[in-house]
Symmetry: C2
Subunit: 493 residues, 2 copies
Amino acid sequence: MGNSLTSRSQDYSQWYNDLILKGGLADYSAVRGCMVIKPYGFGLWENMRDVLDRKFKETGHQNAYFPLFVPKSLFEAEEKNAEGFAKECAVVTHYRLKADPDNKGKLIVDPNARLEEELVVRPTSEAIIWNTYKNWIQSYRDLPILINQWANVVRWEMRTRLFLRTAEFLWQEGHTAHATKAEAIEETKKMLDVYADFAEQYMALPVLRGVKSANERFAGAEDTYCIEALMQDGKALQAGTSHFLGQNFAKAFDVKFADKENKLEYVWATSWGVSTRLIGALVMAHSDDEGLVIPPRIAPLQVVIVPIYSKDEAMKARLDAKAGEIIKELRAKGVSVKYDNDDSNRPGWKFAEHELRGVPVRIALGPRDMENNLAEVARRDTKEKLSVSLDGISNYVADLLEEIQQQMFNKALKFREENSRNADTWEEFVRLLDEQPGFIYAHWDGTPETEEKIKELTKATIRCIPLDNPQEEGKCILTGSPSAQRVVFARAY
Amino acid sequence: MGNSLTSRSQDYSQWYNDLILKGGLADYSAVRGCMVIKPYGFGLWENMRDVLDRKFKETGHQNAYFPLFVPKSLFEAEEKNAEGFAKECAVVTHYRLKADPDNKGKLIVDPNARLEEELVVRPTSEAIIWNTYKNWIQSYRDLPILINQWANVVRWEMRTRLFLRTAEFLWQEGHTAHATKAEAIEETKKMLDVYADFAEQYMALPVLRGVKSANERFAGAEDTYCIEALMQDGKALQAGTSHFLGQNFAKAFDVKFADKENKLEYVWATSWGVSTRLIGALVMAHSDDEGLVIPPRIAPLQVVIVPIYSKDEAMKARLDAKAGEIIKELRAKGVSVKYDNDDSNRPGWKFAEHELRGVPVRIALGPRDMENNLAEVARRDTKEKLSVSLDGISNYVADLLEEIQQQMFNKALKFREENSRNADTWEEFVRLLDEQPGFIYAHWDGTPETEEKIKELTKATIRCIPLDNPQEEGKCILTGSPSAQRVVFARAY
């Protein structure tokens, strides 16, 4: 219909970019690696954010806001964290521009306005936050601190992709402080479950819950828990992480509390985050060659009604009146609905446009159907079209939205199951990676060196060691050394 | 009660800082001029944001997100805007840190990672947004664009104050594009009304609606509309601005559209914003020597219930049960309520704490009252205490919250009326400024030079020329030149 999308089989990567750009989710910007999130994409993010924010509050967290800038001396305090992020930091060095004396109308950085200490634009906020918590924590009565922040962060990535890897992105970062190790680990796991439930119940995205190997751990963490999703091209995507930070940041920033026996102890920490990257995961997991497919529970627009006008003005008025009724009923049920009665576009063009944008349900109201008390209901996910009685159509549509939500999850789960395999030898492992990519369950000797070597040879990494992983004796696919469990390998975004 | 607040008469400025810090709204940070917004302050901001966001959406706007960074070449494109903000820009010049070879564990800016073009951290987003709109606008069918963004911005202010003037702050910025001048001006005024209604109906803050003089105009605007509020010390505070940008940005970024006759025209623009500065206005307008006073409609917590426990365990259970009932009823009415039954603090300490934090209504439930089927209800604004029957207490409290909201507005309005005066001579003007500061209505000859001179002599500025200003012949208080209307002067935050 003139959208000229690239198909998945033609060029998966181009298909993805086409969907993001033509589906109206985002646009490139004048800033290297940064994107513009357009209203439709931002509406999706708002819906995701609102659900997560409610879940965070239900689990006792409050929002706060910490500075964008991290003074270099704080940034470098936790050594591993600093080392992990130093290579991709945007650094503010000056605080003023001035007129360019050689070039009228142009500006130059004022060399007299150099900062005494450089400021790092936050790539993550542990440093600035733990430097603040230091002042808030004296005794066990000040604990736990359960704070979340919705913010922008900057990581100067060299190779960027819309939503999946951008120099600036939006996220939330939870930062909690606890009196005991057990409580901090419990929090880490609790928030992983919040993420997993959100991904599965709202994004219709089945995820593996697991722990990262040392190589893939967050810089400065003792343990990184993650949820991992599988995309339609068989590559994995890390969809959220929850870190048990031990006492690393408490030690780096000297944050101690007096326990009930008045003994000074270092505080235990967690941090956890998901980002606008989730939108990339959503697109890659569900969409098809006609455009976006968005799960109803987070769709910016759930239902669109398109009237098929004839030249008969009386019929036009009847269609408008009936549409008005349906809209009123749907809105009363909390369903978002738009009446697309713009005369300047033909119905076929509109159908293609709403398909491209992934609106879950389309209702077409035409003269002939109207005479028969019917409407055509089309679902975006399966592209099925059904003639539905206008009596009780709003109930039908509300139920259908829930059915679509459920079936999208089931479909994605089935895909993941069909693309999860065991590999018992190196040959099998390499063949699967190339011919049937997906989650590959294989034995590994547990050493960072072997993991690194496998990555060098195949670009596959350990996505996670699943929680409650069955223990099974075996031999490492690369070294043949003994292994007590399989771990999940994949190539990843 | 140990809070040891400075009183207003002692030191108004210190009183303000005490309230922000001890009331739990914000804290200083390790970054010069930047603050931490604490959960209680952020809860207030969330409530304000949610109301505004709803109003923006009701008036047809959608949210989007544009990059934090503005390349220098875009930043300087609109000359007046660039000139206005150049002096207070944070500038990113490098994208990497590296290990300091001379200092183990320390990092330095990597001199090999200098950006080809410096990036300005947005002080406002017209430049980056109009550079984007250029790609989105071809014809009149693409207009209007009605977009808002919630974001952080950075202005490197030399003298900062918590909330009122910080190097980084949170705000929303609307950026709209229109086919005609009339439509853009209508939008500018519409959004000013949205701000004024929000300030008056939710913040209980009466505001003057007016237009800025040329000296006080936003850099790059044709006209700046504003709302101006009066603080308890008689100083004014600009609480929101809405700018008619003419075709300045369209010309700077070459944004044209084909009109219905297929003629190319430059696009008309507006921008409008309010920020976390509003929290400073709220504090200064309503609070007293015992702490914050927060209007119920935006209070993070509207009601607190404090049980007065005796040693009688059965009575304790009765108090808890009764509190549970009241909480359930209040929540069903959409009232936020907390049961402060923490045994480790005494009731008197809690009363002072909730007063400090400005919780609008406190209910104390004690054994003797309970026997008489009564509770003590205390309102924060007037400090009145009333014995209220437990029958129907939730209705009573819900009504009381609305009454408090209204009375807070009335009180602030009365204060403004009592502190708005005419000055007809220079002597009177100067005397009022020093002895009875407030809004001073005075004649002005309309020249930027005179305004500048008055500012130099008195630190007073023209806050606005009120909309629908009565026309009245007079003579400029400084120069004696003829004037057609009074304008509003004040010293300002």
